[in-house]
Symmetry: D2
Subunit: 369 residues, 4 copies
């Protein structure tokens, strides 16, 4: 179950970072929709490492190939399989991983779970696994945009270490705005200082964390559910399933704790034939169900565990040792690349609930209590 996300739009990712390929099977994609492979490739390119001086110099090309589910680029209603071959896997770069559990990586827990003593065992706990997610979401997004006018998901780097971006009108930000800088933070004032923090961490062989903001425009009313499948719960699971995440919040989030109820409640009003709220501390979800307002979340990422400093550790045979990482190709800050991952998981959660809601809407009776 671990490798599948969604109930109706079911996404199963596969592939180790150093195996033959990584990819995804999408089961439950609506039929009769045209899919642009270029649009998938574009999101994969945004996810790819080595895009700027802020990131690692790896030149993974990440060329997507479709094995099934499309005919002349039209979805058939059958499983869509997308793969990316692993081309740049240089095993020797990882030879130092063979012996020692890297602190705060998945090495130890993966071995403990699966009974392996293998560096390749941890291959799923890799940012490269997210290729399948991003590819699947790029399909979902194309379908959703056709079915839901105005639907859009845009994320950006919201904070790096202690610097918090200030974005006065989040709903106006586009992906183009976000991609205008390699940092993917649309705050022109704080951005340069955030970049400096990352460059400085890179020089020091260290890493930094931060948060990512993600907004959903024109989400239909009615997605989610009143109990376990609250939309915020699904989004929380979706986002917290990304590597290196430590926290999630929606709407007012942790700051909600500081409000009085009378300050926090979102008053209703009429806007044409729509019921809307004057404020949006709820973040577009009330009682677990989307209310049609802008959905916005924040996800916290820890500083990546890969740093170039000696650390106390234990080897695969259980002996204490000093872990001495060789300098290699890794990002000092996962945030810019995590932007399309956050968008992807948000899209996948919404897509699944959108399709589920079709059942609810189209099977309703007309009786009222």
């Amino acid at each position: 179950m671990d490798n599948t996300f969604g109930h109706i739009f079911r996404v199963t990712t596969f592939g180790e970072s150093h195996g033959g390929a990584v990819g995804v099977v999408i089961d439950g994609c609506p039929s009769g929709h045209e899919i642009s492979i270029e649009a998938i490739q574009k999101q994969l390119d945004r996810r790819r490492p080595g895009q700027s001086h802020l990131a690692s110099p790896r030149a993974e090309l990440d060329q997507v190939e479709c094995l099934s589910g499309l005919s002349q680029n039209i979805t058939l209603g059958t499983p869509i399989t997308l793969i990316v071959r692993n081309k740049d896997a240089k095993a020797d770069h990882y030879s130092d991983l063979k012996e020692v559990y890297r602190p705060s990586h998945a090495d130890y827990t993966t071995d403990a779970k699966f009974g392996l003593k293998a560096p390749s065992g941890g291959g799923r706990a890799s940012a490269r696994e997210t290729i399948g997610r991003v590819a699947a979401a790029a399909v979902a997004e194309q379908v959703l945009k056709r079915l839901v006018p105005g639907f859009e998901v845009v994320a950006w780097v919201d904070r790096v270490k202690d610097l918090q971006a200030d974005i006065p009108s989040p709903e106006s930000i586009s992906r183009e705005d976000v991609d205008a800088t390699p940092l993917r933070c649309p705050d022109p004032k704080q951005g340069p200082d955030m970049e400096k923090i990352i460059v400085s961490a890179k020089k020091a062989g260290d890493s930094v964390g931060g948060t990512i903001f993600c907004g959903v425009k024109h989400c239909p009313v009615g997605l989610g559910g009143p109990v376990f499948d609250k939309l915020e719960a699904e989004l929380a699971r979706a986002l917290m399933s990304l590597p290196a995440t430590k926290g999630f919040e929606i709407g007012s989030g942790f700051s909600a704790a500081g409000y009085m109820g009378s300050e926090h409640n979102d008053a209703f009003y009429r806007d044409g034939d729509k019921v809307r709220t004057k404020t949006n501390r709820s973040g577009g979800v009330q009682g677990g169900i989307s209310n049609g307002e802008y959905i916005y979340t924040r996800t916290a990422f820890k500083p990546v565990a890969t740093i170039f400093k000696d650390q106390d550790s234990v080897d695969r045979d259980g002996q204490e040792t000093l872990f001495k990482p060789k300098a290699g190709r890794h990002d000092p800050c996962v945030l810019p690349r995590a932007v399309p991952m956050v968008e992807a998981m948000t899209v996948l959660a919404v897509m699944d609930h959108y399709l589920r809601q079709l059942v609810t809407i189209h099977s309703r009776g007309d009786q009222h209590v």
Copy 2:
């Protein structure tokens, strides 16, 4: 799917707050375990409103009845059904809900989703729905404690509005410590001031939010998974499915953003035959899988939406109106009662993953790469 939690230990809750009964069916509970109905009742009593001057004066007795799955209190491996009759439903208390959507409640979104114009439609989006969760978790907990020596889940009120508790050694706190005050905050210094905030909000017909801390002691190594079923993702979904939650974090949480990697990584060491970490910023989970350390999370709750102040709203026919709540029986702060709910959802997430991990462990081959 919305009403079911878990894959192996599957909990399906049912019941509206103003219908015949609320309850739960537990499918997948291990056979041959003795279950104390008193222990279930005890957790339900902790969840019950009206326990102190901090809460609403409702006198729901919430007497649990077992309809199936036990014979002489021993689990049969068949579905366990637990119900609590609704005795105290006075419809007239809710007559003012019949016309107007209460701001920041589930009224509007529930109607929008299900095509109803019914106050009873929103009956699942009620704290009373959590009775089924707490009862199911009280069963799970009894089984888990037998299977996992030392296993314990303890939660408490960590913050009320702007006041943050200071608990120097969280692992030492017991449920008895927590229940020593009606506030359920084991910080003897901040506690009284927190209580004052709540009493003051109550007098003002207003409400306040806060956060709840939850710790898991002696969670087995290996629970969770490297991809979508990361243990933190499951906990996030579990906790964020509780009413009124706005945020979730594990380990260092949102504060992780502020660390350098070299400060955040948890170095490994040997402790007898165990691999352990010197610090625990990871919060007991690495790469999505439990590492045997103390798991700790924080969940943010907004101030409850029920307040006794006039608010702008829209009625069920779509007309703008002023919502004028009558004084009634509601809590100014859900936090103290949410403590057993948070424990319950944490137990349910761990229980399901514990049972899933049994497959992984007992089907392993002995071949190593």
Copy 3:
């Protein structure tokens, strides 16, 4: 998972035959539909033992009670819980079961699976468990009939021991026709001889088996799927999950083996704006998907294992012994009572696929290859 059927219309049954109650939770029932409790009760009454001289003299009243999901008989879109209290459980009737595994019953395998040595452990492997199924299907049927004009499911006893009914036009048979005799076989010629076989088996303390025919009228086109969720596979699982079943066939069934392809293929023709088939050896399903024709299946039931003859067996401590059943209250032929059970499982399978198909239809694009 064992106790849940369906993906969207999810039915979870619970209850042992000798516990407090048996029942069902239905999750995913469409909202806004009026449900007649009388109609549910009527199907339960058809399922109830002791209705005629052909069956056991037990006087279970099986009064259904609704605990949740309805308000003024309108579905709320929340879980519907239906229970029937166990009133007639006389433990002493079963005291002879305490020691010995009854041949061809579930006693031994249930103990082996769950690690019990308990007669109460086998309580789920009881015809009484099907109360939940029949009740859930009675809800589903009411909704389906509203959503699908002309939809109807009618089953009858098709064979008893060696006597095969001859029903010239199955599509014309109604439930009233079926219920005209206690045997529930609408063949006026064979029926009386079939009854004689059952009465004779009853006198001899023995039992007989047979088959049940079930037809679905006006099933919508497009239900099912091309791979694992073929409609015939779902129906097979549904029907073979009933107690005492040994075989299932659809359309031409096992006789298909004897045809040439040129005899078996169903030629297409136009009927107004519909594509129809001239013959219907496919049984209403082609390539796993319903084609709008009459769906018909046959399910084989073994003679019930409860007979009043001494049989070699083994006791719960593993010692060989002679099982000497005391005369008690049991049916010599499960077939007449199994008719509503077969209808119920057929309805549940169709209902789930009907709701699933709503997603497929309403998310389609308009692009053609």
Copy 4:
């Protein structure tokens, strides 16, 4: 959901017969097991068409490639992806399919379901889809044989048209015995006449059906469940999900209808420390749960719909027309090739239940009622 089989050992197949590749993702395969790719290839070769004069002359090589989940042939506990490229797809062979719905094929229902008017839409309803199933089962089988001593699944052609094989001791038959003739029927007397029927049908451009017998040796006690997941129900679903199936039976099957209970019941006896049955009309499953005896089933296959005779039909625009198939490459009888498919689905059903049963066994308490 349609493309996934299993709850713990989850197999998702993908690929159209005329797309880029067909294949499978296996999620939930136990870690640390050595897998022979050759053994997978061997089962695929048994499934491949064109192996003898009885079948079509297509020369599909069906070379399997592993994209993920193995390192040095050891399972990592991560998804195993196996693909077979489509090499022999000559579109012009299928040009006659572009216009007309072939009678008793999936063409019409697939278009009706997915809203397509596309020959490629029906690509999943192809025997080629079963490549993924056979490959996944070949993995499962290797793991199961290591975990369950003596475990073996052997199927064979049991009947062709009117000729029924007579196999005195089914439990003694091996796959080598079965593969000794191209027909895959281990009855030396009837086999040659069965072959003649097929050769004769091939000459006539017609097709014939039949049944396949499948036996499971040394299935562990306790697999399955008392309610919806009865092992026979799972096997029924598994087998009836194969293309062209019309019926399924277990143990005495449809013939059970003709027995008296006193003839049909399987008496228990002791065999060392095991509880066994003297006869096995139950077919190795009682009350939905395996009892350790030999499991045996029969599955009925219709004559394949592809024949070279003109047939009345309707085209994709809804006009009545005569379907005139061009002579092409197709099998007159799917039975010999269906043998490994039947084995595959049987293995997959048992594997999933074996892993599920590990939870039940290893979480049991020691309390008895």
